[in-house]
């Protein structure tokens, strides 16, 4: 981490142009994105019938639009109401300063993250699960089950529902305690799975900086040289002291790696799929620049169903991924936001679509699965993570056109259920927790969908 860059960002957060919330959201974000969509001829380019296009020129125009939007919008700090902005030259220099590869983890569990290109056979990195809430009494079993999966490279979640039996309250001392407590439980689960040294993203249970202060760079906690710190945002093109505290804490603790990753809302201030693709690119560049991200990525999240498995969001995801992949050397990160729950075929179809898209459009690292949209406590199991990882790695090396044929075939299986999606069942009902094996019905769904994927041309073994 470079102190001069941190100080520069903090200075801009305290001296940049001042905006009120409405003015920034409507007059800066919405109008700038709309202007770039118009300037670069992007209106009506969305093609839901072909979610993964192969139009390099379109991807490059989305990148140029996103780069210009990044320079003009910047990131607004909610605590100072000032925009952190960079000139085009400054932004390009910061992007050039970003790593194109890095290592995490220790010993035989070390993981190599490196920039991938389009249709690239370079193996991508699969991090599981998202920070979905899990009961304290099954937390270690869950981590054990996930870490034991052959396709899994790193761990992020899950999140604790309680800490030492008490509700985990954001911003309270419980959250501070949870940082260290989660590290203890994660290490225990990893040890049981025989994967000591595995890298982790800090800290799933704590969205604010309190958990990081309690669990990162402290004895027995997350390792500054071997683990990532995830920094999210509170809204499109917004940041806060909370996120900037995480940046300074990584520096103070001697850390090296940050995941500068958040999301943009499809249907939000950036508008439709084209504008959201531009915003995704712009915000990715800004997050990387502001937070010195070792990896960066800002995938879309469709407000109409709070996920990104639908055809419009998949198009948006694909074109923004391609724009970044073709025009930068960033280690690009993304998230497939499923909405259906474990124990449903829909969750597996959503994963098949999302992970295929990620693999062929150059994403290096995906964190998932967002089982049941992350809405429900204990609604995740290892099996859907195994499936998603298998697809992600098998699809690496396929062409965008091949990927498109697969996603076109499977999106119609769930497109009309994105709002009414099945919640599925919790871990305790879908798994024998003593043996960490799925019940026959859930295993049968996995076998069925996997065979359908193979029949459609996915090279799964």
């Amino acid at each position: 981490m470079k102190l001069d860059r941190i100080l520069d960002v903090l200075e801009r957060a305290h001296t940049g142009p001042v905006y009120k919330e409405r003015e920034f959201n409507l007059n800066v974000v919405a109008q700038t994105i709309a202007a770039k969509v118009k300037k670069f001829g992007l209106a009506n380019t969305v093609d839901p019938e072909n979610p993964i296009g192969s139009d390099d020129d379109l991807a490059d125009r989305v990148y140029q639009a996103g780069f210009e939007a990044a320079v003009e919008i910047g990131v607004l700090c909610s605590d100072t109401n000032r925009a952190i902005r960079f000139s085009a030259e400054e932004l390009q220099a910061l992007l050039d300063d970003s790593p194109s590869e890095f290592w995490l983890g220790e010993g035989d569990q070390k993981v190599h993250f490196r920039h991938r290109g389009l249709d690239d056979p370079t193996p991508p990195v699969w991090t599981v699960p998202l920070s979905i809430v899990v009961s304290e009494d099954i937390f270690v079993d869950m981590v054990h089950g996930l870490a034991a999966l052959s396709t899994v490279d790193c761990l992020e979640g899950p999140s604790l529902e309680t800490v030492y039996g008490k509700p985990l309250r954001s911003g309270s001392p419980y959250e501070h305690l949870a940082g260290r407590y989660q590290a203890d439980l994660m290490y225990e689960g990893i040890k049981r799975a025989g994967r000591v040294g595995m890298p982790m993203d800090a800290i799933g249970s704590s969205t604010t900086h309190y958990g990081l202060l309690g669990g990162y760079g402290v004895e027995g906690g997350y390792r500054p040289k071997h683990d990532l710190v995830t920094i999210l945002s509170i809204g499109d093109f917004w940041t806060s002291y909370e996120s900037l505290f995480k940046l300074t804490q990584v520096y103070v603790a001697g850390g090296e790696h940050i995941s500068a990753s958040t999301w943009v809302m499809l249907g939000g201030y950036a508008g439709g799929p084209e504008g959201t693709a531009v915003a995704s690119v712009a915000y990715t560049l800004l997050m990387s620049a502001v937070f010195q991200g070792s990896r960066a990525g800002v995938p879309p999240f469709d407000l109409s169903y709070m996920g990104n498995s639908g055809d419009r969001a998949q198009w948006c995801l694909s074109v923004s991924n391609q724009a970044i992949t073709r025009n930068t050397n960033l280690v690009y990160h993304s998230i497939a936001n499923q909405v259906a729950g474990p124990g449903s075929e829909m969750l597996l179809y959503e994963s098949l679509v999302g992970m295929t898209n990620m693999a062929v459009t150059g994403v290096t690292n995906v964190v998932g699965t967002r089982s049941a949209g992350g809405r429900l406590t204990d609604y995740l199991t290892p099996l859907e993570h195994q499936f998603a990882g298998e697809v992600f790695k098998a699809a690496a090396g396929m062409s965008r056109a091949q990927g498109n044929e697969i996603v076109k075939q499977f999106i119609p299986k769930y497109q009309d259920q994105l709002v009414t999606r099945p919640d599925g069942q919790p871990f305790q009902e879908l798994y024998d927790i003593d043996t960490l094996t799925p019940i026959p019905e859930w295993q049968a769904m996995y076998d069925k969908v996997k065979q359908e994927a193979i029949d459609a041309g996915m090279p799964l073994s």
């Binding site: 409507l26 809430v133 309250r169 954001s170 959250e175 469709d302 992350g374």
Partner: protein
């Protein structure tokens, strides 16, 4: 200009988010002798239509915000005379909603959308912003004479503060003073029921319906079975 033209222009002004035009039409209607009930109902239908289209992904946030602001501008102009009309017809005040994102949580977008829709639907909204500690929400509700306390949480770790507001009201013997409405990404209907909230809504349009339903009833908050609306 005829009455139907005025109404069509009002509809168009709100749909297009043209606040200036909506305000001008409001002044014309106030100066005329005609009842304001019909245009207000038309405007309410339009804003509901915009909200539904937003929920379906057919219009986007900037359009919805501008439409709501046009509606608000229109309502600000017509409200004084409308209140006279409404008083004459015994109509109910829709009430005040104190709204905020709970302690430990600084996400605002969902809360803002709900506040916008409630305001556009005729509720008086007191927006406390983000990171609102439980006692602040209660005190603001007291001082503003609110009927509702609306609490948003976007993180599982901030959801306990929604429960804390309900619990505090009970401990202060004020549970019947306010209906407590909860929402936010991870907040489920079951959770709302578990913490004895009065209302839960999956989205902004549904939040308005929940408030409408609660305010039309006569059951005190402590005896009210959870009123909920899924996304439509």
């Amino acid at each position: 200009m005829g009455k139907s033209n005025d109404f069509e222009n009002l509809r168009e002004a709100i749909l297009e988010g043209d606040q200036e035009a909506a305000v001008a039409i409001g002044h014309q209607l106030v100066e005329s002798e005609a009842s304001l009930m019909e245009p207000v109902n038309i405007a309410s239908d339009v804003i509901r239509e915009v909200g539904d289209k937003f929920g379906a992904g057919e219009v986007f946030l900037p359009e919805m915000v501008l439409a709501a602001e046009a509606m608000q501008g229109f309502m600000d102009v017509v409200t004084p005379r409308l209140e006279e009309e409404a008083a004459g017809e015994g109509a109910q005040d829709r009430g005040t909603v104190v709204i905020g994102t709970v302690q430990g949580d600084i996400h605002s977008i969902g809360k803002n959308i709900v506040a916008t829709m409630l305001s556009a639907s005729g509720y008086e909204v007191v927006d406390l912003g983000v990171n609102v500690v439980p006692m602040e929400a209660i005190q603001a509700a007291e001082s503003s004479g609110a009927t509702f306390i609306g609490l948003s949480a976007l993180m599982t770790t901030s959801m306990p503060y929604q429960k804390e507001v309900v619990d505090l009201l009970g401990e202060l013997n004020q549970r019947d003073d306010f209906y407590v409405i909860v929402g936010g990404g991870p907040v489920t209907r079951d959770y709302a029921d578990d913490i004895n909230a009065n209302g839960w809504a999956a989205d902004a349009a549904a939040a308005v319906q929940v408030c409408d339903q609660l305010s039309s009833g006569s059951t005190p908050p402590s005896d009210t079975t959870l009123v909920y609306k899924a996304a439509e």
